[in-house]
């Protein structure tokens, strides 16, 4: 088992490197000179020369790539073209916000998704099940920005029960518990947007997984022992339908991060998504590469964690 974990951990490296390479190539074959974009065409020749030399932009492509990768391996992600601040320092303060948004929506959507999935399976083909199917089809087809704006219009602007934007109220000075409550209050709407779509996917999968098993022998035995419908679902069918659900949750992490870009923009949430947008618009390549690498690593690591948790749920995988 340790061997398996190690092998999988080693596989993470080429995937993250591959994604970095694709981005690196893309950025380098793009038309236009980053230095000129930075000065928005206002700099003079001497300034361009100075900047090019400073960031070694005139080196051959492979040399640049090699310098970058070897620096990254030493923990140096370069400095922002725009602010001159180190990339690590630029990214650091924003990681927490995005992580809070992403993790909370994944946790909440898993809980809600499993609960609704069990409910739908228990009431399979009845009214509740059919209504939930309709809702999940609807949620899957709705653009996340639309859900976000409609929630914002209704709950923040119309009813005024949630704030419109930010992570804390303007001028908020409380600390500790008071601050956590304030953050949670700001988190509710953006988190709900991401969680609504994820939970409907998880609920459908859970439902299908359970219903598929209801005809199985071990379920019939459980029934014969006199267990009620809901008990059969909870104690026997749910456990065996978990592996595919876990896989999907792991695979949706990328989706949650993509959704976070739009949601952070709408709710003014100070996370990585907005940093990606601003740094790609200003062509701040070092920052952009840093954030992308971080996200790629997070996605790949989550996939790995998924596979490992698979082993805990399903002993058969351990034997292979």
């Amino acid at each position: 088992m340790t061997k398996y974990v190690l092998r999988r951990l080693i596989q993470v490296v080429p995937t993250v490197l591959g994604i970095t390479l694709i981005t690196f190539v893309l950025v380098h074959i793009a038309p236009g000179d980053p230095v000129e974009v930075l000065a928005s065409g206002n700099g003079d020749e001497a300034y361009y020369e100075f900047m090019r030399a400073k960031y070694r932009l005139d080196d051959p492509f492979l040399t640049q790539l090699w310098t970058y990768v070897s620096n990254v391996l030493r923990g140096d992600f370069g400095t922002s073209y725009l602010t001159g601040e180190s990339v690590v320092r630029t990214i650091m303060p924003r990681i927490g916000s995005t992580l809070l948004l992403a993790v909370s929506s994944i946790v909440i959507s898993t809980l809600i998704g499993l609960a609704f999935g069990v409910l739908a399976a228990w009431r399979a083909n009845r009214l509740l099940d059919k209504a939930m199917l309709r809702i999940s089809v609807f949620l899957a087809a709705a653009p996340s920005f639309w859900i976000a704006q409609v929630l914002l219009l209704f709950f923040a602007l119309r009813l005024g029960i949630f704030p419109t934007d930010g992570r804390n109220s303007p001028g908020f000075e409380g600390t500790g518990f008071a601050k956590a409550v304030d953050t949670l209050w700001h988190l509710m709407l953006p988190m709900s947007v991401l969680a609504s779509q994820e939970s409907s996917t998880i609920a459908r999968l859970t439902r299908t997984g359970i219903v598929d098993q209801l005809g199985d022998d071990h379920i019939r035995l459980a029934r014969a022992k006199g267990l009620g419908d809901l008990q059969v679902v909870l104690r026997h069918a749910l456990r065996r339908s978990l592996p595919p659900v876990v896989t999907v949750i792991g695979g949706r992490v990328g989706h949650v991060f993509s959704g976070a870009v739009v949601v952070e923009l709408i709710f003014g949430w100070p996370g990585l998504g907005r940093l990606i947008l601003s740094s790609s618009q200003s062509r701040d390549t070092p920052v952009l590469l840093g954030v992308l690498m971080l996200i790629a690593a997070a996605v790949v690591l989550m996939n790995l964690l998924t596979d490992l948790s698979y082993m805990l749920i399903d002993p058969r995988v351990r034997l292979k």
Partner: protein, 253 residues
Amino acid sequence: MAASGVLTWLILAVFAPWLAPQDPFLVVGEGLVGPSWRHPLGTDLIGRDLFSGVLHGARTSATIVLGVAVIVIAIAFTVGLVSGYLGGIVDDIMMRIAEVFQVVPRFFLAIVAIAYFGSGVDRLIIILGLTSWSGLARVVRAETLSVRESAFVEAARLFGSGTFRTIFREILPNITPTTSAYLTLLLSRVLLLEASLAFIGLSDPSSISWGYLAGSSQAYLRSAWWIAVFPGLAILLAALSLTSLGDAIGRRE
């Protein structure tokens, strides 16, 4: 029945310039006026008719989705059919490549590509097409594998049908239903992806799209709810039309 949604969308897309009461780029009234008889969906900040904008948006989204469909079908079917039919090392290599494309964060790659190469319908189609084919390729391959061993394929080969002919005459027709069901679902995701990109400001400035319209509403949410609600509703309906078509094809199977 199931195709009626997609059909409506396509008709609107083709005839948008004749159906729309106004030129969507033309200032025709006061800005930020709510829905009325004159402007059924209201006007935007500078007084352009939102109803005309939404109709023209059908055209942009249909162009992009169809364009992506062409690229995705071409790559996915080539890779899937060859991989599934030939098997062996070719299969191994192609599936590894497909795997890489499956992990690539599409949305972020698209953001980078469009920010650095400039936005345009053509570039959107290419970047979304090149990053969206891997799932379909796997479905095509799996279907090919299951059909390859069947008796009629065997019979065709016995009667001297070559590889090319067998793939096109025997295998392709038999894997079309399942793969097209998957394709419609994939296209609905492409539609949503394109809308999100346009929403965050990465759309083609020369053509009006639903995502662009919705994105332009963000600054005026307080005063003009209609700019946020209607374009998004159009995207929702278009995506629903694709998924219900996919469902219908899948159920027929």
